[in-house]
Symmetry: C2
Subunit: 121 residues, 2 copies
């Protein structure tokens, strides 16, 4: 039996919308999500968990209250739990998110930018 | 303050040995490890946890008792907990492993192929 690998590029062709993470896999109670983002987001934090971002294509900046980090393809960053952050991308960037099942994109801030959770592709 | 992204390619230049995972980051109680592998490994499983493999460069095959999966750059696979598997790479392949802190590369099999755990670069 031949099992199927998960291909990030193929998964990313399945949708166009920004700021709407799509689940592609689970490891224990963690989820892997692909997401396309462009422009500015809201300040938010995840009170109960760290959050990992891996850039698959493009450039991402994450602002913190005391600084920022620039991420390019092949780079990752772990945002510590409770730390306020705001992602920004001048041009579209494709990202792999890794975080526990149930984490919302806007963390504990909520609001109109909150995406539907647990959407699989 | 400018924070530093973790760059997979740069981390992979820091060592040459095969089958010796190096920790580059933690998310909660999970670790991200880069590893270079070439050739055949031992059959093993991780009784208590799933294990995620993302191919950063090269080609990887993972054999299971009932089949196999082929992985190339930009592809991932989650090996379910308890499932026996054996990685194989004809040529060197560079991988990102994601699994809970404390997981050994040989799982519960042990033996001479067991690498030192929790080595950071």
């Amino acid at each position: 039996m031949k099992y199927q690998a998960l291909n990030f590029e193929k998964k990313l062709t399945l949708f166009d919308e920004h700021w709407a993470p799509k689940v592609i896999a689970e490891m224990n109670d963690y989820q892997f999500k692909v997401v396309k983002i462009k422009g500015d987001f809201v300040w938010h934090n995840h009170e109960d968990t760290d959050e990992t971002l891996i850039v698959l294509e493009g450039n991402l900046r994450i602002d913190f209250r005391d600084g920022y980090v620039d991420l390019s393809q092949g780079e990752m960053f772990v945002v510590p739990k409770g730390v306020e952050h705001k992602p920004f991308a001048e041009n579209e960037v494709k990202i792999l998110l890794i975080e526990p099942r149930g984490v919302l994109n806007t963390g504990h801030e909520g609001g109109e930018r909150t995406a539907q959770n647990d959407v699989w592709i």
